[in-house]
Amino acid sequence: MFEIFASLQAAWALVNGADPALARIVALSLELSLAAALLGAAIGLPLGALVAVGRFPGRRAVIVALNALLGLPSVVVGLLVYLMLSRAGPLGSWGLLFTPTAIVMAQSLLVAPIVAALARQTCEDAWRDYEEQLTSLGVSRARAVPTLLWDARYSLLTTVLAGFGRAASEVGAVMIVGGNIDGVTRVMTTAIALETSKGDLPLALALGFVLILVVLVVNAAAYGLREWSVRRHG
């Protein structure tokens, strides 16, 4: 118990001290996780909405598969992306292994299914309310996708935040495709893993608290954005 309190104090000292190396790691983590959240949302939102309104053979199987992907083991994703980007793999010539881009790719692949599965449910519920009226107005199923996504934007914001959280907390896949290279692909989570393996548990925990703080700040900002938007547009 005492160690946890000591680590909290250490975390606060870290934040106040504004150590440039730590600042760089935090900035990189934020940048990569936000990019992955946006990319994952760009894939997952339309995909989820399409499955929600679509009528096609195998639709139920697709929904089951999407929901199952919520439990996708991240280390498997890391391994698959590694094998794709390795020089010995199909995309080796792109030279992306051990770069921040590889991290964004792996994280996006983890975020997209979460966003798609949750968006599918949200849009399906909305479609149930809107289908009759929108069809009457002449809106095709395809045309309804952006309409539903925009209309459900507050629920979907929470979904995208869930995706961001997933990206920001990922360790295994990031370690595999990024290599945890000091100054290049070391992010908060892999730094915590490194300090843990060096046995410096108090520092690792302190970094953990800093990471939680960063995620909290992002969520607070998103909440503020939502509140402002509701007040302005309803």
């Binding site: 309310d129 809107y130 009759e132 009226q133 069809t135 009457s136 107005l137 002449g138 809106v139 045309r143 309409t147 925009w150 209309d151 459900a152 934007r153 547009h233 309803g234």
Partner: protein, 234 residues
């Protein structure tokens, strides 16, 4: 009197919903320039008929022939509004129907003007009262300049004051030449708005009479019982 060919000819429509025949071999001709109110007890098939004529439900048997393609619109008992401003709901409908951007704003503004909602055009549609939302739904339908407007118990959820306003708007729309096909439970409303009554019983048209004659002396036994409030639940 020789009548021109019907706008819409329905022949032997059969619709099965949940194992029950909601429409049972129903035939009906809709002529141009009329105001038709469809009456019947609960379960007679009024709402199903409206939705089938509008194209929201596909009949399992029978035919629907339009003399030529007609622009249609429908207003439902409970208005369904998107999460955006009142006027944006109207411009949305216009954009979906291919009205060029330059025209949309003007048409939407004028539609809101006609239904008396111009002062609250920028307010979030969902924040409007029931009566205001229903008038907005009418404005949205009207802005599309439909040739035939279906209305499914448009005032059922409204108080008398709001009902009266909605009736005024429907009358104004009919005066401009839009063909009205409406269902209602309010006999007074039917008398005010209709020029002909179609009476449904057990999924079939039982009679079709000019409004004044219907209320003085309906031609069918079922209609008489209905007007006396004695028709059993179908």
């Amino acid at each position: 009197m020789v009548e021109s060919p019907p706008l819409l000819a329905a022949r032997d429509l059969t619709v099965v919903l949940g194992g029950v025949k909601a429409l049972d071999g129903l035939s009906l001709d809709l002529m141009a320039g009329r105001r038709t109110v469809i009456l019947g007890a609960n379960g007679a098939g009024k709402s199903v008929l409206l939705r089938t004529l509008h194209g929201l439900i596909a009949p399992s048997a029978g035919t629907l022939s339009w003399a030529r393609p007609h622009r249609q619109a429908m207003v439902f008992q409970r208005p369904v509004m998107l999460r955006r401003s009142a006027i944006d709901n109207v411009t949305y409908a216009l954009s979906v129907n291919g009205i060029p951007a330059k025209e949309r704003a003007a048409r939407a503004a004028s539609a809101l003007e006609r239904v008396g909602l111009a002062p609250i055009a920028e307010r979030p549609a969902r924040a409007l009262s029931g009566g205001e939302q229903q008038r907005l739904a009418l404005a949205r339908a009207w802005a599309l300049k439909p040739e035939i407007l279906f209305l499914d118990e448009p005032t059922a959820s409204l108080d008398p004051g709001a009902s009266a306003e909605v009736e005024r708007v429907i009358s104004a729309i009919a005066d401009e030449g839009t063909r009205i096909v409406m269902t209602t439970h309010h006999l007074g409303q039917a008398r005010r708005l209709a020029d002909e009554i179609v009476f449904l019983h057990a999924g079939r048209t039982v009679e079709r009479t000019p409004v004044a004659d219907f209320f003085r002396q309906p031609a069918s036994k079922e209609a008489s019982l209905f007007l006396k409030g004695e028709l059993p639940w179908t």
